[in-house]
């Protein structure tokens, strides 16, 4: 077994070179390289965690924004409904008012016209009596030669009209 047979001759060399080389490994690789590798991993983990948090935050923002948008849309819709209903009600009211006004005006016009017609017909009938009286006076004068006064003619016409 060389490990034991050679121990006296080789132990110093073994220990020396092991300490030298393992020491170099420890200082160069263990203390020099490992922390850098670990910091790379840590930085990556941190970045991933940060990105995930940012994504989560963005998702929350989007949700909140969508919620706000929905609420706004609902409010707008309600507002629009209110406005249309008010407009509809106003339209109905306006048309009713206008209709009532027009009705009143029409009634006025009709009654005024009726009054005018009545006056005209009165005037016309009065005219007829006068003309009839003059015509009767002229007819009497032509037929009998008797002169009658317009008053007598008027009385006769009136009586005839009333009878006729």
């Amino acid at each position: 077994m060389p490990q034991i047979a050679q121990i006296a001759a080789t132990y110093a060399s073994q220990i020396f070179w092991l300490l030298l080389i393992f020491g170099a490994v420890f200082f160069v690789i263990g203390l020099g390289m490992v922390p850098k590798v670990q910091s790379t991993v840590d930085a990556r983990d941190k970045q991933i965690a940060g990105d995930l948090a940012a994504a989560e935050q963005a998702r929350k923002d989007a949700d909140a924004r969508e919620e706000a948008y929905r609420a706004k849309t609902d409010a707008n819709r309600a507002e629009a409904l209110k406005v249309t209903q008010a407009a509809k009600a106003k339209g109905i009211f306006d048309s009713e008012t206008a209709l009532a006004k027009a009705d009143a005006e029409i009634a006025d016009t009709v009654s005024a016209a009726e009054a005018r017609i009545k006056a005209a017909s009165d005037a016309a009938s009065a005219g007829i009596e006068t003309i009839a009286a003059e015509a009767a006076q002229a007819m009497v004068a032509r037929l009998s030669g008797a002169n009658i006064t317009p008053a007598q003619a008027a009385i006769a016409v009136k009586a005839a009209l009333a009878n006729g």
């Binding site: 490990q3 121990i7 490994v25 690789i29 490992v34 850098k36």
Partner: protein
């Protein structure tokens, strides 16, 4: 490897051969020749460094190699935070170094480089090496324990719920189990690696010797041995990873004792 007169010595693969510096490289009279063992430590360190270079691109979206490096650091980081807790963070460099150094050493030692005449030396099959690594880990436990808890660290030897009438015995048993730790740590790795390599070598000697003895022996013994060798090679790769893991896991458990004393 050493087929001297048709014989294969399964232990020969563990021989340390000085490459240079045999004569005058010494510290306080101790020879520190650069051996094949030291060469493979250096190769392991370089390969590990090359592996780690792939993780230094520091890209936000990692490539495959960077992903592999990051999964190794993440594995050690996870092991320490599971076993030691938040205080385990600062031991990641040490545990990572020891885990990867042992893992790469074990795996490189299994490379079939014998095919091109190079002898892949597994320095983790030497208890001088595993012993030093175990003592390093054990020293860290002791230093951290006494640094953080002072003499109160000795209460490690009195577990919670010890009945008063066993107080004369339990601390002694705990002390023994505590002091055995560096030995078990070192011997486990050394024995596992050595046993696997010896087994492969013995099986390969079966293949060689039975085939040399004739076609019949070769078919009857050599072929099954070769099939078994393939299976054991797969097992050895598993063992290489598991032993590195066990070493790192036990070290982190011991550090947990020192960090979070009960």
């Amino acid at each position: 490897m050493a087929a001297e007169a048709g014989k294969v010595d399964p232990m020969h693969q563990f021989t340390i051969e000085p490459l240079f510096g045999t004569d005058h490289w010494a510290i306080a009279g101790h020879n520190i020749a650069f051996t094949n063992s030291a060469l493979w430590m250096a190769i392991t360190a370089v390969v590990l460094w090359l592996f780690m270079l792939g993780g230094m691109k520091r890209a936000l979206v990692p490539g495959r190699w960077q992903m592999a490096v990051e999964s190794m650091t993440g594995f050690i980081d996870g092991m320490l935070s599971a076993n030691v807790g938040p205080a385990g963070k600062k031991y990641v460099p040490y545990i990572f170094s020891i885990f990867m150094f042992i893992l790469f050493a074990n795996l490189l030692g299994l490379l079939p480089l014998g095919l091109i005449g190079v002898h892949p030396f597994t320095f983790t099959s030497h208890f001088t090496v595993t012993g030093v690594l175990a003592i390093l880990s054990f020293s860290i436990v002791l230093i951290v324990g006494f640094w953080r808890h002072g003499l109160h660290f000795f209460s490690l030897f009195v577990p919670h719920g010890t009945p008063w009438w066993l107080l004369w015995l339990i601390p002694f048993i705990e002390l023994v189990s505590f002091m055995v730790r560096p030995f078990s740590l070192a011997l486990r790795l050394f024995v596992a690696m050595m046993a696997g390599h010896v087994l492969l070598e013995v099986l390969s000697s079966f293949v060689i010797n039975s085939t040399n003895a004739g076609a019949g022996f070769g078919l009857a013994i050599g072929v099954p041995s070769f099939i078994l060798m393939i299976a054991i090679c797969a097992l050895e790769m598993l063992v290489a990873a598991i032993q590195a893991y066990v070493f790192a896991l036990l070290t982190s458990l011991y550090i947990n004792d020192a960090e979070n004393l009960h």
